[in-house]
């Protein structure tokens, strides 16, 4: 079956080409069929290759398929080749699985949109690019997928392109991502000129020999690659595009800006773990950026009123967790959280989409409330997802988040400060998520009457994906139950062959489990559960029971609230410090340098030339008499000169 690995990305590509070339000519059911079935085929094939891989002995779980030579330029040789190993297997399952559910959901959600065909065309292209990204066997092909998903993100954020805010947001996403790609490119250059290859397997194998542990070269390389990840996965300081990306249709936010594309940075760091593990300095940078982003974004999430923006900041924050895990060299934990997050965050977005759908496109939670009885399925599934993201045991989010928190404390690269920030973030997460649930589903119905009469539960194409995702949000974490519960961590074990570090990390974990630190792990776990419970209580108090308290608090700390609401004014800062100066500089270069300096100089030259000619023209009177006079004068002069000799 693995001989057909290339079909996994190819199916959605076929869907893209079919829908794309026949745009406007196919009826909606055909479009939906082509769009969804191609992704389903990819998913089915992914499941099959997954089991094939699982049947192989753990150490040999690598399948490489080279399709053809892409760029052969001297010593630089890059193939179009795919790599299936435990890591990419997890990713293709998540991408095609969650992707398929979101395609189905979109059938209902986008039903009345005039751009239906265009939408599915883009969505299939995205799936193709994302699968290419995770299956690539070398940096450059990964970069193809990387830019490809960026393009689809751009197209889908700006899907409703007649809205200025939408096309602005799309452009911003693309450009900010390109800044990250700049780092990625340079990182690749360093890898190639040092290792002599861009092949993941070759690089992983040779890295320990060609790089000195902790040296400046490897640190620079990893930090540059991480810059790429920061752009794609919306971390400080390049996270600004993600909240704006909510301008796109909600299923797009679920697929691209929550479950799959934004996790590409985490995947990339995990994929190149053999490099990162060689440089504690770069790991430290990753961990710090991750944990600070997690905390920072969570604080902004506290004050947002747009239901999708809360989820957007929550995504930024959760991605921070994943990088924290990578930064403490616990890549498996990062990927684990990536997977569970894909389930519950996709569910939250799709649920939010269902709410928005019901509310006639209203996104402001201040105009919602009391929706529980109108939207029972949406409510219950979203509630489950909220419990999962808040980290209530035994839902999926609990296991994955707790794993990260524990690793951030216990790993060789960990630090108690990481744990503290992560711990506080967990509390904030529970608070803003329950705030969202209470403001949306409980309390007074604050919408106007016209909207109220239209409220309805979504059709089956939308609710069934919600239910399936809810199931996975509950059970998804069971594959990675930590050692202290007396079982082996299946997930970590599965990824072990890919992770240069897992062996070491697992060892220390076993040691910790065997040693006296088990108590510590239990304690920390208990602490975070208690904190989450307290946070939920406060959310309940402020946004359900005594909403006037929230108002008075808001008034009391109005400065802080305004700062949070305006996202710390970071966008304004970037605008003033980066965007506007560049525009002014460009105008200066054009109007002054090009027009005045260069052309001014040349035109000046031309006019001097002109002036000289004008002067010389006096000699050319055209009158024979003048010429004769000058002529005779000249003859006289010559004769006189000769006589004087």
């Amino acid at each position: 079956m693995s001989d057909y690995l290339f079909l996994i990305p190819l199916f959605p590509l076929i869907g893209f080409i079919t829908n794309g070339l026949l745009i406007g000519r196919l009826p909606k059911p055909v479009i939906s069929f082509v769009g969804c079935s191609t992704v389903f085929l990819s998913f089915a094939l992914s499941v099959m290759v997954f089991f094939e891989l699982k049947a192989m002995p753990a150490g040999l779980r690598v399948i490489e398929q080279v399709l053809f030579t892409w760029i052969p330029s001297g010593s630089f040789h890059v193939n179009i080749g795919l790599l299936l190993d435990p890591l990419s297997a997890v990713m293709i399952l998540v991408v095609s699985g969650v992707g398929f559910l979101i395609h189905v959901y979109s059938v209902g959600y986008m039903h009345n949109d005039p751009g239906y065909g265009r939408y599915f065309t883009y969505l299939n292209l995205f799936t193709f690019a994302m699968l290419t990204l995770v299956l690539a066997d070398n940096f450059l092909l990964m970069f193809v997928g990387w830019e490809g998903v960026g393009l689809c993100s751009y197209l889908l954020i700006g899907f409703w392109f007649e809205k200025k805010s939408a096309s602005d947001a799309g452009k911003k996403a693309f450009i900010v991502n390109r800044i990250g790609d700049f780092g990625f490119l340079l990182g690749m250059f360093l890898v190639f000129w040092t290792v002599g290859s861009l092949d993941f397997l070759t690089v992983s194998e040779k890295a320990p020999e060609v790089f000195t542990y902790g040296g400046a070269l490897i640190t620079t390389t990893c930090i540059l690659l991480f810059v790429g990840a920061v752009g794609k996965s919306a971390q400080i300081p390049l996270y600004v595009w993600l909240p704006d990306a909510m301008e796109g249709p909600t299923p797009v936010s679920a697929l691209i800006h929550a479950a799959t594309m934004v996790t590409a940075g985490v995947y990339m760091v995990a994929r190149t773990n053999a490099l990162f593990i060689l440089t504690p300095d770069a790991l430290l940078v990753v961990a710090i950026i991750g944990v600070v982003t997690a905390f920072f974004a969570a604080t902004i999430g506290l004050a947002q009123n747009d239901i999708k923006r809360v989820l957007a900041y929550s995504t930024v924050s959760q991605l921070g967790y994943m990088f924290l895990a990578c930064g403490v060299a616990s890549f498996a934990a990062g990927i684990f959280h990536l997977m569970t997050h894909a389930f519950f965050k996709a569910l939250l977005f799709l649920g939010a989409g269902s709410v928005i759908h019901a509310m006639s496109d209203e996104q402001d939670m201040r105009n919602m409330g009391g929706l529980k009885k109108y939207l029972p399925i949406t409510f219950s599934t979203m509630f489950i997802a909220t419990l999962a993201i808040a980290g209530i045991p035994p839902l999926s989010g609990f296991f994955s988040k707790d794993e990260i928190l524990w690793k951030s404390f216990s790993s060789d690269f960990g630090h108690p400060l990481f744990w503290i920030l992560g711990f506080v973030t967990a509390g904030l997460t529970a608070f803003y998520m329950f705030r969202l649930v209470f403001m949306t589903f409980y309390g007074k119905e604050r919408m106007d009457d016209k909207t109220r009469t239209h409220i309805h539960e979504s059709p089956k194409t939308m609710t069934i994906p919600l239910i399936i995702l809810a199931v996975f949000s509950v059970i998804g974490g069971f594959v990675g139950i930590p050692h202290i519960f007396g079982v082996t961590n299946q997930f970590e074990h599965w990824l072990e062959p890919v992770m240069a570090t897992s062996a070491g990390a697992a060892e220390s974990h076993v040691l910790a489990a065997g040693g006296g630190d088990t108590g510590m792990e239990w304690t920390l776990m208990l602490l975070s559960v208690v904190l989450v419970a307290v946070s939920i209580y406060f959310a309940h108090l402020l946004y359900k029971k005594r909403t006037e308290l929230a108002t008075s608090l808001r008034e009391r700390f109005s400065g802080l609230h305004r700062t949070l609401l305006n996202k710390y004014y970071v966008d304004e800062f970037y605008g003033a410090v980066v965007v506007r100066p560049v525009v002014y500089l460009s105008l200066f270069l054009w109007k002054v340098f090009d027009v005045v300096v260069i052309d001014g100089f040349l035109n000046g030259l031309a006019s001097r030339y002109h002036e000289v000619s004008e002067f010389l023209r006096f000699g050319q009177t055209g009158r024979v008499r003048t010429y004769a006079t000058v002529f005779i004068f000249g003859v006289v002069l010559v004769v006189a000169y000769m006589l004087m000799d």
Binding site: W70, P72, L140, L185, L186, W193, S586
Partner: protein, 530 residues
């Protein structure tokens, strides 16, 4: 047949010129039809050339060498290698598409226009085939005349200013080149006793002193740099582009600019290797300035066409940077990027022209929401835009990536600064795209715009196919380029090695001279003592 194919490709358009001269001037349809057929047949000949070309063969192929003016050593010497082959293909494709694109836009002086186009084609192909410096120079100058008329007669409101500026800039450069050629002629005569303009002979045999190389490189490089155009010699370009008719812009950007870069790789590098090493940092710095400067200035343009023109400055900066990285990746990327730039910028000019034909304006602010009224047009424009900003799996990426990879190897700083161009390119192209295509249709005149006609789609589809072909499967191009690029790289490596050696020796010499001086001063002191 193999012998005649180059002559056939080069001069076949002249058959068209003769044919069109005979046709009465008011028979517009037959004039257009004949011009189109002639350019298409020329294209077919060039594909034939492509198939006959042996990618494994070293050196020049399909060579013809017939003595012409023997007393001066001028001969009719033509030949192609991988580099010129690809550029010839680009020329024939773009000429054909430009003629098709001119169908409705040229209404006055139809006969003269198509004659100029075909004459131009002969000139361009001639430059790429010529292996004799005299012929190279003749073809180089021949191109200038029809282009002057195309801009000056069928151009926009400031066409005279633009045409004269274009000609003056180019003439200034090519005069210096002529002086250089004559100097080389006499040097060769001094060396071997006979006159010869034969490029291959001169490159292979003539030893030029380092000092002479410096001067000659300067003369040739200035001619080529103006053509590229390299910052700060670029100011003729926006004027020429904005004023030229669509086809003029396409040929200008697509092929004429490549004359400059082609000249560098065909003449400057192999003939003056030592000077190349000396000038390298300066050229790289100018290229980097061009990349960023072009991009920034492009960003604030109000006219779509001048935006594309400034983006050319940026892209050609990439081409120069890659070439002067002097390694395989850089040079191959550079040549691929020459082709890419022809396709993507040529495509952009064609697209802009199509919109201009409908609306008679190119100001960005006059548009908005075009994607709603012209969806197919918007889709084509998007694809070419993506190719222009170098998205992977489009042609632009392959070239740009290799150029930056090569430049980074030459000097990390070159690579780093060059790579910022990737970010800027996204800024100016996407911002323009947003303002033209997105948003609501605010201008009533835009509401009744018609989407692409079948003729326009016929023009664009080949370009889109090329975009993806070169983006996904560029291997055949690399195979064609390999031998000729290897040759250049080897030569440059030798020159660099010699330079390193020299530096070493100079250092040694300096130390001995110092010692010598000391001895000498001792001597004089002793003498004065006496």
């Amino acid at each position: 047949m193999e012998k005649e194919i180059l002559t056939l490709v080069t001069f076949f358009p002249l058959v068209g010129v003769v044919l069109l001269t005979i046709l009465p001037r008011d028979r517009h349809d037959s004039i257009k039809g004949f011009a189109l057929i002639i350019s298409f047949v020329t294209f077919l000949f060039s594909t034939w050339l492509y198939y006959m070309f042996d990618p494994l063969g070293n050196g020049m192929q399909m060579e013809v060498n017939i003595p012409w003016i023997t007393s001066l050593g001028i001969s009719y010497h033509m030949g192609v290698d991988g580099i010129s082959l690809l550029l010839i293909m680009l020329t024939t494709i773009l000429t054909f598409l430009s003629i098709l694109a001119s169908w409705n836009s040229i209404k006055t002086g139809v006969k003269g226009y198509y004659i100029s186009m075909l004459l131009l084609e002969t000139g361009m192909i001639g430059v790429f085939c010529a292996l004799d410096l005299f012929m190279f120079y003749v073809f180089w100058e021949v191109m200038l005349v029809p282009m002057y008329f195309i801009i000056g007669l069928w151009g926009g409101p400031r066409k005279i200013y633009a045409a004269i500026k274009f000609v003056l800039f180019t003439m200034f450069g090519s005069l210096l080149m002529l002086v250089g050629i004559i100097y080389i002629l006499f040097e060769y005569q001094k060396y071997s006793g006979v006159f010869s303009f034969d490029m291959l002979k001169i490159i292979g045999e003539l030893p030029l002193s380092y000092q002479a190389q410096l001067w000659l490189f300067g003369a040739f490089a200035l001619a080529f740099a103006i053509k590229v155009p390299l910052f700060p010699f670029h100011t003729w370009l926006p004027d020429a582009h904005v004023q030229a008719p669509t086809a003029g812009s396409v040929i200008l950007a697509g092929v004429l600019l490549k004359m400059g870069t082609y000249g560098f790789i065909r003449i400057c590098l192999p003939l003056f290797p030592d000077a190349t090493i000396t000038y390298l940092p300066y050229i790289c710095i100018l290229s980097l300035i061009a990349i960023i400067y072009g991009a920034l200035v492009a960003m604030v343009q109000r006219d779509v066409k001048s935006l594309v023109a400034f983006s050319s400055v940026s892209h050609m900066g990439f081409v120069m940077l890659g070439m002067f990285a002097l390694n395989t990746q850089g040079i191959q990327g550079s040549i691929i990027q020459m082709i890419n730039h022809g396709i993507s910028t040529g495509g952009l000019f064609l697209l802009v022209g199509m919109l201009y034909e409908r609306r008679h304006t190119r100001l960005i602010e006059d548009f908005g929401g075009i994607a709603r009224v012209m969806p197919a047009y918007a889709a084509f424009f998007m694809i070419i835009t993506l190719s222009s900003i170098g998205l992977p799996f489009t042609n632009g990426f392959v070239g740009e990536f290799l150029i930056l990879l090569g430049a980074f190897h030459k000097n990390n700083v070159y690579g780093i600064i060059g790579a910022t161009g990737v970010v800027f390119a996204a800024c100016y192209m996407l911002w323009m795209y947003q303002r033209v295509f997105f948003g609501k249709v605010t201008n009533d005149e835009n509401k009744k715009l018609l989407d692409l006609s079948w003729r326009e789609k016929v023009i664009l589809v080949p370009l889109v196919l090329l975009v993806f072909w070169i983006g996904v499967y560029p291997k055949p191009l690399f195979e064609i380029l390999k031998p000729s690029v290897n040759l250049v790289v080897e030569q440059m490596e030798r020159a660099e090695a010699v330079r390193l050696d020299d530096d070493y020796r100079v250092e040694e010499k300096l130390t001995t001279v110092e010692v010598g001086n000391n001895e000498l001063s001792f001597d004089t002191e002793e003498q004065s003592d006496e």
